[in-house]
Subunit: 544 residues, 2 copies
């Protein structure tokens, strides 16, 4: 029996129509280093309409991709509204990637237009000759001289100034309502190996995800909130905050390129946000800044931390020194990105409460999770069984654009590459990436857990644990250890120390003393390199 | 371009699977007058599985309707889970309707099974011979003698005891995932004229509506809430609270048949709910009860009032005497029911804030509203233009079951029958029902507004304003007035008094002095009867 409900597609067009009218008074502030630029959702809506008319004139039809190469600012927000609402696909290019990756991504997505902040021209201009499908470059902001040099612009590519392009166009656009499963926006995710992979969000997924961002078990964004969105709009849709603003009418404070601790602290003091969202390193910088130059941050009723595990000390510091509760969240580009959010359960107090809050959080009804063990079988959600997390839901990707990397999917579920546990009440605790976990005899050994215990030994400065091939077990752990200056602990002592905390079969077979653990460009242990060194016989390791 | 998102249907089956596992510890308390019955979502889930197995054995297949004739209690909740999740359609029968309507509705919906509370058998049993499609009656609760008398049960109908039917059956059920647009539940709405009309909610509408109930611009139901659901589960899905509990894990306090002010006050004191939802008359009764016999109601962080306009005095009393904020909401069976919720906008203070809070509230992104004027044309959303509200959205009905009353729909929008204004920032103020409004020369005159002004005159005890036919204008207002004992105000004086508040063309042409305004069975002015009396020449009225 069919329901009698209206068949109304969920669409960014309707979200734009609603948000810019009903919540037109919500403010949109862009930091400039000097006087902030102040606007409103109503004004952003009118400018988005102009932008859509302009893009149509540049030949943007159907589901063509319009790329942005921008910081978090008003013009970027205008594209968030205009491009999906006109039926095209917003492609947020990650400005921090290696030029080779940016080239690959823009070509793979077949971007027709790139809207670029003038301040980012030095990064984009050298790539223009290699962007095969781009026909128009639109430069937002900057002075009269902030345009690519004519000789840097390939034949067939036109350069426009954003404001000139919008000038004089109609302030209304008849936003078409799309099929809700059509692509509205896309974002590429770049692993440490292989080519970047495209995720294409749908009108439906954006709508549902925006609702979750405003739900009590989501980020609880409220109409009266002023949201400082530090998390980049070029990465995983700024955690859904721009569209949440359209949905419930919160105001937005956009930091543009002023992401250093000093300007961020100034922004908080001046714009008085009630909620702010960023990765842990941003907050670590802010805390250090506040220690040397205090500002009033008392308007923040909550800080959302995601993108990487939140160090417990940082969460406690925020709360104990500044009285600001930290909300820990987990997600990835592939999950729109909101996966789990660490609201503690009712009744949890003291350390138990902290433990829930430091977990990756609880999966909401719309993001089902399951664990798959080393043997490919389901792992129980008992808080102990370790497996790779697979997720399924209406805002989780089920493939990559143009079919890349199909082995990242499993019966319609996304293999997250994250390894950890799930509790019966739905809390996720990640312990490792699947590529770093040691698969030993059908069981998994967490490299992160071993490292944590090892680094608790007073003689150990750093320790990285990696998998090395083993004929009998498949893989066995190797520990690469940096001792404190003058420390004398031997491997046997360290192994006995570890044995107090983990099962015997999890103890590393191989031990290596190193001067330093090699790191990646973002400061993480470069476990791939350690494994390569071991394979090449370049690492002196003893078997215990 | 298709998105890469997973194609995951929104389904009650998944909601049940999620809620009973992840939020299994949430409590479900049923009031009994004595010791409350205590259960959990996990236990309710296990019993729902047993119920589903039992219903299959009773021949419930496909999309057959399983009706409930129950108060708010644990067994009713078990049907909320089991019936839609097994792929059948939950039909909540309104126990308060006239027997003729109940007969009509059960036959129109073709109910196969009726689950009935033993305490309601005296109402249902006499109807059994007329319920043509019912094959099974399942009696929940009650003692050994609480069964229909054998001679009252028609041939071909079997009677079962609920607990016996569930006993010994498996506590798990492989809930099938339905097409999200299939019917999951249905509820009939009964107007004052014509046959009741069936609204069939879909899996999709229930899922989206549950999200809205937990959103910051919805009812903001939170995981840690204990929700006292006074609003009946037999009417408009108890405002979405049962499914919201599955979605975010709030606890539920269910009053069963104990809806009198005394037991409700006891429930609040004993079960310490943080949120409660009911129609205004329930809260008026509770307030009177608390005045004579105080109880501790301090756990309530919010009271939701809907179903009828909230008297301003009631809202102020709740806040000023008990410190409990009142959240006013508007909706109807046809809107699942959550339409608008009166959260005031950021920055509104004092009387302006009260005015927003006493409005019907703001329409959320998923419920689009428009006003259609007396002439059939759109009315601007400027807070002044008056029109009939039409709504559109994924949880708004687009037809009635089996095509009843097609003229209640207009280009895919629902004509609500409510008349009022919309502000540019999305707030709805209802002034009248469209059947009561006076359509005069292409303009609308609000009967409720005229009545309000008239009743503010010290000599007027009651006043009802109705439309009477007029050759020139179509309709003109007639005022039927009850004077205070000994009062001497004449019609001319009353008209002059009115003229201070409304435009001249809105003043009643016809005036009638009556001893009492006739009322309907629920105490509302019976305007239909007044119009009939006037038409039959039974009402002495003078033309001014």
């Amino acid at each position: 029996m069919r329901s009698t409900m209206q068949d109304v597609p969920l669409s960014v067009a309707d979200l734009v129509r609603y948000g810019t009218a009903v919540h037109g008074a919500a403010s949109v502030v862009t930091w400039t280093g000097g006087e902030p630029r102040r606007s409103s959702l109503a004004e952003v809506g009118r400018r988005a309409a102009r932008l859509a008319h302009a893009l149509r004139e540049l030949g943007v039809t159907g589901d063509q991709r319009v790329a942005t190469f921008q910081w978090n600012n008003q013009e970027h927000l205008e594209s968030y509204l205009a491009v999906p609402a006109m039926g095209a696909v917003l492609h947020t290019l990650n400005i921090r990637l290696h030029p080779d990756q940016i080239r690959y991504i823009a070509n793979h997505a077949e971007d027709h237009v790139v809207i670029v902040d003038a301040s980012l021209l030095p990064v984009l201009t050298p790539l223009l000759p290699d962007l095969k499908t781009v026909r128009h470059v639109v430069v937002a902001g900057g002075g009269p001289d902030d345009l690519p040099a004519p000789q840097a612009v390939p034949d067939g590519v036109q350069v426009h100034r954003y404001d000139e392009l919008l000038a004089g166009r109609p302030e209304e656009f008849d936003w078409p309502v799309a099929d809700e499963r059509d692509a509205a926006a896309m974002c590429y995710t770049s692993g440490t190996t292989g080519d970047p992979r495209g995720v294409a969000y749908s009108h439906r997924s954006i709508w549902l995800h925006s609702m979750q961002v405003c739900m009590s078990d989501g980020l609880e964004v409220r109409p009266e909130d002023r949201v400082l969105a530090v998390v980049p709009m070029f990465h995983a849709m700024s955690w859904g905050l721009p569209y949440a603003a359209l949905m419930v009418g919160c105001s937005l404070v956009l930091p543009d390129r002023f992401l250093q601790p000093g300007p961020l602290a100034d922004m908080v003091a001046a714009e008085r946000p009630t909620l702010a969202a960023a990765v842990p390193t941003v907050w670590q910088g802010l805390v250090r800044e506040l220690e040397t130059a205090p500002r009033d941050v008392s308007t923040l009723r909550r800080v959302v931390i995601g993108g990487a595990a939140c160090p417990p000390a940082l969460m406690r510091l925020f709360e104990e020194r500044y009285g600001i509760p930290v909300l820990h969240a987990w997600g990835m580009t592939e999950t729109s990105p909101l996966g789990s959010v660490a609201h503690p359960p009712a009744g949890a107090e003291g350390e138990r409460r902290w433990s829930y809050r430091l977990s990756q959080g609880r999966l909401p009804a719309s993001v089902r999770g399951r664990l798959v063990g080393a043997d490919g079988h389901p792992v129980p959600h008992d808080g102990r069984g370790v497996g790779e997390l697979e997720v399924r839901g209406p805002w989780v990707t089920g493939s990559y654009h143009r079919g890349a990397d199909p082995d990242r999917f499993h019966d319609g579920w996304l293999r997250t590459g994250d390894v950890g546990t799930l509790t019966p009440d739905g809390y996720l605790r990640l312990t490792d990436r699947s590529k770093d976990v040691i698969k030993s005899g059908g069981e998994w050994i967490s490299s992160v857990e071993l490292e944590g215990h090892l680094m608790a030994h007073p003689d150990v400065r750093e320790a990285a644990v990696v998998a090395v091939p083993d004929e009998k077990w498949g893989e066995r752990p190797l520990a690469a250890v940096v001792l404190e200056p003058g420390a004398a602990a031997g491997f046997a002592e360290l192994r006995d120390f570890l044995a107090e905390h983990v099962a015997r079969w999890q103890l590393p077979d191989w031990w290596s003393l190193v001067a330093e653990v090699p790191k990646t460009s973002v400061g993480k242990f470069d476990k791939k390199l350690i494994r390569q060194q071991h394979a090449a016989g370049e690492l002196a390791a003893v078997r215990l």
